[in-house]
Symmetry: C2
Subunit: 236 residues, 2 copies
DNA sequence: CAATAAAGAGAGAACGTTCTCTCTCATTTA
DNA sequence: TAAATGAGAGAGAACGTTCTCTCTTTATTG
């Protein structure tokens, strides 16, 4: 009954510790074990994402996630130490994906074109469903969930702030460059412009524009007009 | 053991049912009993609001709410049948208060002035704390919580849709009137303008502008520029 | 190569806690 | 006195997490 339970010790009979370490390192990076671990983590993350979209961070139970992943609790807890950890990982990934849309900013010469494109890309991403079944606007749902969680979860708040800082920085950089190129009125307050455009981006996600029956394409001239309004104010 | 549990029926020994009904009606509206009931309900609602802001709808427990209200569960459940009911009531109230800001719309002659004022009022309300202690931006926090809940709670979703429909209607009415007065370019898509401005409003709440160190007053010219951009697009 | 040891991976029951909500009974009010 | 009100224990379910054990894969040894 107890004769097989406890005796679990690492023997470590090797004479060369460095060799062992190196071997372990290689195995962790490229081995079948490591690849399998990554695959399982992704399986859990996908399942959890679906559950969180369906029931919210607090509303979804670990059992629900386990069922969705086709996995036992014991197995799941081998890959993530807590529900918190899963929430944090998903929040970080989702925010990062949003932030990455800004990468295209530097590709465009015209700053108004660039803003317009970023806005459209954002809306498109948010009306998408990255992970299989479920509502079409999964990404937007998860977005709101992350925002709500950030209100009272310090870790998630830190994650949000990190990516938002990066976004602000990138936007500000692009605007400054455009200003130097003479595309923007010299008196425009760029910090204010960044904050305004970022807020508008989030609002449009929340209200879930496309879900209201408005086609994404209709937003093109709107984004353009807004970009012009914010970057080159008519008065003052 | 069971002899006292269920038999709780209104005896109604009166010969005149109409009199009783009338009496009851009057008592409910003006009696001390009714006033006390309302006071207790408000006490619970205030406590619950604080808890929900602090911990979220799902995160806050009924015990937490009872403690905050200085009340036992037995007492609380006399006034609200479930946690759900409290959530719904608070959601409805909060959304209604937001919608009521639009009442001023009709007071102003100039449509751009009106939009600007509504935007500023909205931001001011959201940076406020209606119910005593807690963070300064309680209203915004609650707003996000309601939005997240609406994503998966049908009742709350219905409440949101109701008030948003009213808001859209009111905005559209004001825009139409302004168009007839010649304030708005005849080719402007008013539905799109309504949706855009509503989305921007929500976004600015979410990003919590004032909390980012930007004074509310700085937003005045921004709102003005945006209103002009949305209502009278430069091209097309 | 066969035998053996160690570790990895996973299943599922069970843990202690916390949840929402109910029941009983005492107190207050009209 | 009869109804309204409230306190508080606690029922019963669900929660996140851990524990024990089995089975598979990998590494080591003779």
């Amino acid at each position: 009954m107890v004769d097989q339970a406890l005796p679990r010790q690492a023997p470590n009979v090797s004479a060369n510790a460095a060799d062992d370490e190196h071997h372990c390192f290689v195995a962790k990076l490229f081995g079948k074990r490591a690849r399998n671990r990554e695959a399982q983590e992704e399986r859990i993350l996908n399942a959890a994402t679906n559950c969180f979209i369906r029931s919210g961070f607090r509303g979804a139970s670990m059992n629900e996630i386990c069922s969705e992943a086709g996995m036992s609790p014991g197995a799941l807890y081998r890959y993530f130490p807590s529900k918190e950890a899963i929430i944090e990982k998903i929040s970080a990934t989702h925010r990062q994906e949003s932030a990455e849309i800004l990468e295209r900013m530097s590709q465009s010469r015209n700053i108004v074109d660039a803003i317009t494109q970023v806005g459209l890309d954002h809306v498109k991403k948010m009306s998408m469903n990255d992970s299989g079944p479920g509502p079409r606007d999964s990404s937007a749902r998860l977005f709101v969930e992350v925002r709500a969680e950030a209100m009272r979860n310090e870790s998630v708040a830190a994650i949000c702030e990190l990516h938002e800082g990066l976004m602000r920085e990138k936007l500000l950089g692009a605007f400054t460059a455009a200003k130097e190129r003479g595309e923007i009125d010299p008196v425009t307050d760029l910090d204010l412009a960044v904050a305004t455009l970022a807020a508008m981006g989030e609002g449009i996600i929340m209200r879930n524009f496309p879900a209201q029956g408005l086609p994404v394409e209709a937003l093109e001239p709107v984004f353009r007009a807004l970009a012009i309004a914010v970057l080159r104010p008519a008065n003052k």
